[in-house]
């Protein structure tokens, strides 16, 4: 059964990595032009901390997760096939989730590597900074939490629920924005922000990137742990609540 998801993930990864490759080639071309015409060949730039690269990797992995997170929902449309296979539903769901998680990690890693490639071609030296490990953990964890959150929100419903993968982006950003507002609305939004992966990531890059710092008061290592725990919890909930029967 998981072969279906394997094929789907392969196809989806091909598209996603293809777009990344095109973006990388574009960036490499622009970098080449900039080096030749502005600084001349052999010019060098200052170092960039590797922890910064995790931000883009997180965003790209979360974009992929928005689609991958609807995999259980997609299976609901083919229940005549998927509900009559000689395998326990929980096991099927678990295998689907494992394939998706692996694919999200591949996108995260590929984005990170391609970013590094672009920087190196720009003759920018990536520097391993002390926050890198924490940011890597937080960024990847947030992408997986995003994936798991979409699974929970969509796995019990029909095809229409797949739009949640797209709608969740502005909703999450709005909630994160409202959390900055003082008063009851802000407090409520702050409470909801606890399950908003973007709130965790925004706060990590907030001080320098201008992103919001909703959960900045929470130490980074705690936030990193939280996103992983939420990712595991949401995946477990999705696997459990995935329908086994009609009413």
């Amino acid at each position: 059964m998981e072969y279906v998801e394997l094929l789907r993930a392969r196809r989806s990864l091909s598209w996603h990595l293809g777009i990344l490759a095109i973006l990388t080639l574009g960036a490499l071309y622009l970098a080449h032009e900039a080096l030749l015409h502005v600084h001349g060949s052999g010019a060098s730039h200052g170092p960039v901390q590797l922890s910064w690269l995790t931000w883009f990797a997180t965003v790209f992995a979360a974009i992929y997760a928005s689609s991958a997170g609807t995999s259980l929902n997609r299976e609901n449309a083919t229940r005549d096939i998927s509900w009559t296979k000689p395998a326990p539903r929980t096991l099927v769901a678990l295998r689907f989730v494992l394939i998706d998680v692996a694919a999200v990690i591949v996108v995260f890693a590929a984005t990170f590597l391609l970013e590094t490639l672009v920087l190196v071609s720009l003759q920018v030296t990536p520097v391993l900074d002390s926050a890198f490990g924490e940011m890597l953990e937080l960024g990847l964890g947030a992408s997986l939490m995003w994936y798991a959150l979409i699974q929970v929100l969509t796995c019990r419903f029909g095809p229409g629920a797949r739009s949640i993968g797209g709608i969740l982006w502005p909703v999450a950003l709005t909630i994160d924005g409202l959390a900055q507002v003082p008063g009851v609305v802000g407090s409520l939004a702050m409470a909801v922000d606890v399950v908003n992966p973007l709130a965790y990531v925004g706060s990590s890059f907030g001080s320098s990137s201008g992103a919001r710092a909703t959960l900045n008061f929470v130490p980074a290592d705690v936030r990193a742990l939280a996103v992983w725990l939420f990712a595991v919890l949401f995946c477990a909930v999705a696997v459990t609540i995935w329908p086994r029967k009609e009413a």
Binding site: M1, R79, D80
Partner: protein, 295 residues
């Protein structure tokens, strides 16, 4: 009779106050084919859904090969739904791979045979297939796992007459090899040709459940043609063995339940110009059963 591979006992399914299936009991033995007939909304598909564990039953029990449904049950159960469900983004060959990886008894040679039988190209993507071709793919997948239990909901839906014939042959072949086949159809002729027993549902209830040959010998039509107007029937219509009497012009048709000879003698006593006894075909049996139930 062989042990039933499909056993439904007292199955009831309610959606709120609406009873879709009402106390249905039905067994299908190994090596036999049961055709399930019924008007639209009779509860055939709901029965299948409950049988396969898609829908929660309100009451009753279901057993496949003598055991309640479990994931392992599906190793030997093949199901073809009314609207063939396929993974639209997968090719036919990829569907076969899914089945090869899912079922222990998947038979690739058999699958290739069936693809040829239904004129299917394994490179075709499911989303590009016509309704009939989707049904053909679903049937190919179903028969490729060498099932012991086949549950087919309108299995020839959208197929051309040649492929419809193939489906009946496949069912007969499966039953000959010991499988139990339960299939629904709106084409009574298909049931008559392939099935050895028939179950007729109406308004959620099972109104007929019998071996077809017994049904045919049980009910007959006595048709008498009179030279003039049909004479007084002398209370013939009240005979408990007469199910229905039709009078059209000078022709009298009496549908009898049993003891048709005695009825024929009573009609013969009315001096018709000609009289004959006709065996009912399944379509007439179906129509009689449903119209009796409606009444």
């Amino acid at each position: 009779m062989n042990a039933p591979l499909i056993s439904i006992t007292g199955l009831t399914k309610r959606y709120g106050s609406f009873t879709a299936v009402d106390d249905v009991s039905l067994d299908v033995a190994a090596g036999s084919i049961c055709g399930l007939l019924g008007p639209n909304g009779a509860g055939k598909t709901t029965t299948f859904k409950c049988l396969l564990g898609f829908a929660k039953t309100s009451a009753g029990t279901i057993a496949i090969e003598g055991a309640p449904l479990s994931p392992a049950t599906f190793e030997t159960v093949a199901y073809v739904p009314e609207r063939a469900t396929l993974y639209d983004n997968l090719t036919i060959a990829e569907h076969l791979t899914v089945y090869r990886r899912s079922y222990k008894h998947y038979d690739d040679a058999r699958a290739r045979e069936l693809l040829a039988l239904f004129d299917l190209d394994p490179r075709q993507r499911a989303e590009k297939l016509s309704k009939g071709m989707r049904t053909a793919v679903a049937l190919t997948l179903a028969f490729s796992i060498r099932p012991r239990v086949l549950i087919l909901d309108e299995p020839s839906s959208g197929l051309d007459p040649i492929h419809q014939r193939h489906v009946l042959d496949l069912m007969i072949d499966a039953a000959a090899n010991g499988a139990a086949v339960l299939f629904s159809s709106h084409q009574v002729g298909q049931v008559e040709r392939a099935a050895d027993s028939v179950a007729i549902m109406n308004k959620g209830r099972l109104i007929v459940n019998s071996v077809i040959d017994e049904l045919k010998t049980g009910e007959k039509i006595i048709e008498a043609v009179f030279a003039g107007p049909i004479p007084n029937l002398n209370g013939l219509a009240n005979d408990p063995n007469i199910l229905r009497i039709e009078q059209v012009g000078s022709t009298l048709r009496a549908v009898t339940r049993e003891d048709s000879d005695a009825i024929a003698q009573r009609i013969f006593a009315l001096h018709p110009r000609s009289i004959r006894t006709i065996d009912l075909n399944l379509e007439e049996i179906f129509m009689n059963a449903v119209s009796r139930d409606q009444a």
